[in-house]
Symmetry: C2
Subunit: 214 residues, 2 copies
Amino acid sequence: MISANRNIRRLLRYRNSLCKMQELGFETVYSYNLGRETGVSPEQVRKDFSQFGIKGNKKGGYNINELLITIREIFRKDELQKVIVVGVGNIGNAILQYKGFQKNMIEIVASFDIDPTKYKKKKLPVPVYSLDKLPKFVVEHKINTAIMTVPERVAQDVADLLIEAGIKGIMNFAPTVLKVPPHIHIVNICIGHELESLIYHSLQMGNNGRGKGS
Amino acid sequence: MISANRNIRRLLRYRNSLCKMQELGFETVYSYNLGRETGVSPEQVRKDFSQFGIKGNKKGGYNINELLITIREIFRKDELQKVIVVGVGNIGNAILQYKGFQKNMIEIVASFDIDPTKYKKKKLPVPVYSLDKLPKFVVEHKINTAIMTVPERVAQDVADLLIEAGIKGIMNFAPTVLKVPPHIHIVNICIGHELESLIYHSLQMGNNGRGKGS
């Protein structure tokens, strides 16, 4: 059982790097290799692994294959995880088209929109249903997780509908702080805020030190 | 001058709520109102404001208009901030279509792709140039910030090109830990990892406690 979100994200970064190393033919990795590749200190790598009962060999190396199996077990990657997308605008559409989820045993099984007729002519990899079909679908297909790409003004209402239907985790792309019960897990991805924060920091750096591009 | 990223994100959340309150006709806000709307403790709200020299009135209320002006000044919203998008795939395309940046004085001025001919027939709001035009464009238009929506396998190479051209801040959508000099600011938005982390937490919640959707 892992409690903190940050541990989970580090594990996913380790997995990414470990997969690449395995593809390159490596069998063993050291905490400092993996730390360098993932931007984590070697101490933190060892601490994370020890938390999951993973032990290194005498020289401090770890078997890459064993690490990957353990990480897969933690994320229950033996079961396909079904996810729905609510709101088929530009971002929703881009997420539906993305093919990278499948390799990690995630499948987007359906999408929902306030006006599904708009998408009849578009080639989408999953059906688009109207919002009133959502509650039944979530229960029947035992969906726990939803990606919500709806306009800000309806975000709270749609979140309420999802939670009422039994959804436990929502990825929210609207720049709204959703009010949800404590047992509901929310991941906010506010591209606008992230971009403003980034511009703020870029401006602090100023326009000096330009490269040889001119 | 603000040092931590988290402060910046909180300020942006305050701004969002303050704009809504202003639209609803409110003139004054209390730290507990604003805290409740943004998921921040009233103490933190007061601490953040006091850091920027913003004082409340005798009863502890803040003038909404003054708050918004101060936040605008912090983000230098009197100047239009020009941004480029590199990689016009599904996500890149969705970001180009997004109209929400303009109200915050951000303009995406151009996009770049390894194969710009692919997009000749598509209706895009900005031109798509080939990557070899990027260095000159960045210097000539004094671009500091780039949104990078390229495949994982080329992410590091494209980041190197951007930094060489003079870019100071990169929003990276590839699931790669970019290796960059310390003065470069990176925001990673890895939708895949966020989704896996969310599914992990949703599974911990289990399938119990379903709503009345059935």
